[in-house]
Symmetry: C3
């Protein structure tokens, strides 16, 4: 939907420099910009190419305030954030259709809110509740007594096990599995065989959580697995049973959290990290990619970066790598 | 289903102390117990909180035999195992419905046993066989000539490729893919292009195997990939073509086994472990999380724990980590 | 379909030795060969068992030219490649049916080529285009404006997000997700909350690409994620937004590529490798399993093998491992 830059600037609280009535119709990268595009620059070295692009207008940091520009500039202290918000504003003209496809199969006891959209072949089991404005993609399966809040976006081929609850504004990408049984067995000492430990708990996901494609999140064994508000989980991440994740946590792709791990607010976890059972990441800790945290280990320190397996403070780890490299260079070749 | 503790004690072969006619209606953790709950304690330090909880009865080890308790105690040498069995007993009152949803699409040549349950949108292809009492979740796809035993539980959005066979009492979680093509190509030296090597073998899965959500198991290239009885596989695990896995093996989440790997009985593999082509884990070996086993490497020793990449005995690896840490501390800071 | 060995030899450009009218009906491994099987040997030490097997004929290297054999031999400079091609020839007698199942749901604006096959419950959204001879497995979901070329094989429960394009002869295994949103957020410095950065780019996949089961490939944020012709991607691989992958690249299972990584032609990547944001693998580099490449790191050298985290030339890494092992053995035990 087309909007005048003065309206965009007002909505995103940016300071407008230049012609207020120029119209923008969508966002783009500098490279792919065309007439009507709104682009952004958060690094001064890219300002020139933004101004030279066909874009209609540019969101930029304070550094651009003195630039010569024939295009309107929207000056913001956080230009990337301002751009993300402008993108939402410009996309708002393309609302979801709120249709329920005739092939969706909805149990008579399920409750659907206003403006719910269900794709082809969607299954909604008994006693499930779907909030207002939530959209569910084709062939997704929503189990019995699942509760999904309002304005959620569930993509296709997602499976949500019974009794799972999702807050509002949750996004779940295709193929994700929520609320599956945890990995728990008891070995019979007599027979040597494993018997399944009951996996009958639940999974609770807070507001504004996003879960990536083909990620898996297990329900609690007897209690509850929890993911706090605003936490973002990438593709193919595994979350084990009884895990407790706080708010505003970021977990990159293919990371795995073993059972009963605890991740406090504002933790940042890189890709392919492994966290052992009951591993505990305290508030604001940061883990480098492929790190490994031993079972029951506690990592602490806001903003402290850990790396390696077992994870240690990154400065320590880098020093160890440097020492090892030096020793190998000094050692006489024997081959 | 409610049961008297004397009946539970008898079924799980526990020694009952206290009032035999107290009724329990379900299992719970100590934390979430309510009136009617059956809980367990396998560590003496938790006995007090179990006894102080609202639970109706407590399964505990021999250590509890002398405790003062107003609740019935079910004393067992393996309290966690006894609890798991009690959970099954108490859940048995909630049988699966054995309905075949009208939207399931079943090829006329497929054979369904007695008491089979098929969810919405399930597809059963030609010549497939589904055993008595097996349940298949919504939108799962069972390929041609697949054979599934009795009392299996296949969750939603599972795909089973043609000719795969599953034993009895197998559990397959949502999104898992069984019997897909292995990763095999031949590079044409002339063109430099990869051509697909035939992936036309099969996958055979034994009785009582459990496979986690979004796990993938490839069929053999020309021969058979096999997973033995009682083996438990966690979420997002990858099993390559021609892999041979024995009985009672445990494989934690996100581990990957390359083509033709061999895993003997009673092996325990942590999460995010990588096993190279034809890597071979002999009976009873144990691998720490994130370990890496080189192609063709053989690891041996019942109960021996290996860790690191390349995997080595854990005592050796820990010593190496300690030495490196000491050297780094001794080295003069140069930054 | 049965064929005479002289016809097979001609088709795969092998030199025939022995009776030209012997018939073969299918391929097999030496171990599983039966009468009518065609087998291959690329290592001279297996020649004897091939000749002693029940197989009807043997594809072998030049080393077999002087062997005594009662079976026809098809001599090829690349016997494994010749075998792969013979497999395709013999399978050609079993064509796909090109039926569109009545339960498939096809938007009226979608365009289907000649000989398209759609399984049960397949969803084809508006403006999608499916090329001639392409087959799509049951319950897969093809988003709006997706373009799929000719002779592709899309297995079951696959999700393709809107605007993704696939070339010709592409194979996508079950459960794969193509074109999902990348993992991009902007943190508002004021609130500490993450807001979604727009993920509105596209995904383009070239001809003859194969993508494994439950793999995930994200679309570009603002631009395009690209996978070049002939590239082969294994199960559970993650490809982030804006990644650029060249031609004839091989990526083994569970490897993850962070956003904006660049992988040039003919690169070979082992399993469980992690590549940081903007990591760059130049043409022909080779990465050992579980390697980690730091963000923005460039690796170069055709045929050079890298290993470890951070990835370094393998000879260097092995020397470091050896030095560390030696030091640990020399150090006095203190425990």
């Amino acid at each position: 939907m087309k909007r005048m830059v003065k309206d965009v600037a007002e909505a995103i609280q940016a300071r407008l420099m230049g012609e207020p009535t120029v119209e923008v119709s969508g966002i783009a990268s500098i490279r792919s910009a065309s007439a009507g595009s709104l682009v952004f620059v958060d690094d001064e070295k890219n300002l020139h190419s933004a101004l030279a692009s066909p874009a209609a207008a540019v969101i930029a940091g304070e550094f651009a305030a003195t630039a010569q520009s024939s295009k309107p500039l929207l000056i913001s202290a956080q230009p990337k954030l301002a751009f993300a918000r402008a993108a939402r504003l410009l996309a708002a003209g393309h609302p979801h259709s709120s249709a329920i496809h005739t092939s969706a199969i909805i149990h008579s006891s399920a409750r659907l809110g206003v403006g719910v959209s269900l794709g082809e072949g969607v299954v909604i089991a008994e006693d499930a509740e779907i909030g207002d404005g939530t959209s569910i993609g084709a062939n997704s399966v929503i189990g019995a007594s699942v509760k999904i809040g309002r304005s959620c976006e569930i993509y296709s081929n997602v499976t949500i096990y019974p009794h799972t609850s999702l807050g509002n504004l949750v996004i779940v990408h295709a193929g994700a599995v929520l609320g599956s049984d945890g990995f728990g067995y008891v070995r019979d000492e007599a027979s040597g065989r494993y018997e399944k430990f009951p996996q009958v708990g639940r999974l609770e996901i807070g507001d504004e959580v996003e879960i990536g494609a083909n990620a898996t999140v297990d329900r609690g064994a007897l209690d509850v697995t929890r993911i706090g508000r605003g936490t973002k989980i990438d593709n193919l991440v595994h979350i084990g049973h009884n895990v407790q994740i706080g708010e505003d946590v970021v977990i990159a792709a293919q990371t795995g959290l073993s059972g009963s791990a605890i991740v406090e607010n504002n933790v940042i976890i890189g890709g392919q990290v492994g966290i052992g059972e009951q591993g505990h990441l305290q508030e604001g800790t940061i883990l480098g990619g492929q790190s490994g945290i031993l079972p029951k280990k506690v990592l602490r320190g806001k903003g402290v970066v850990f790396w390696g397996t077992p994870a240690r403070p990154i400065s320590e780890y880098l020093k160890q790598l440097a020492v090892l490299s030096r020793l190998a260079k000094q050692s006489k070749p024997k081959e």
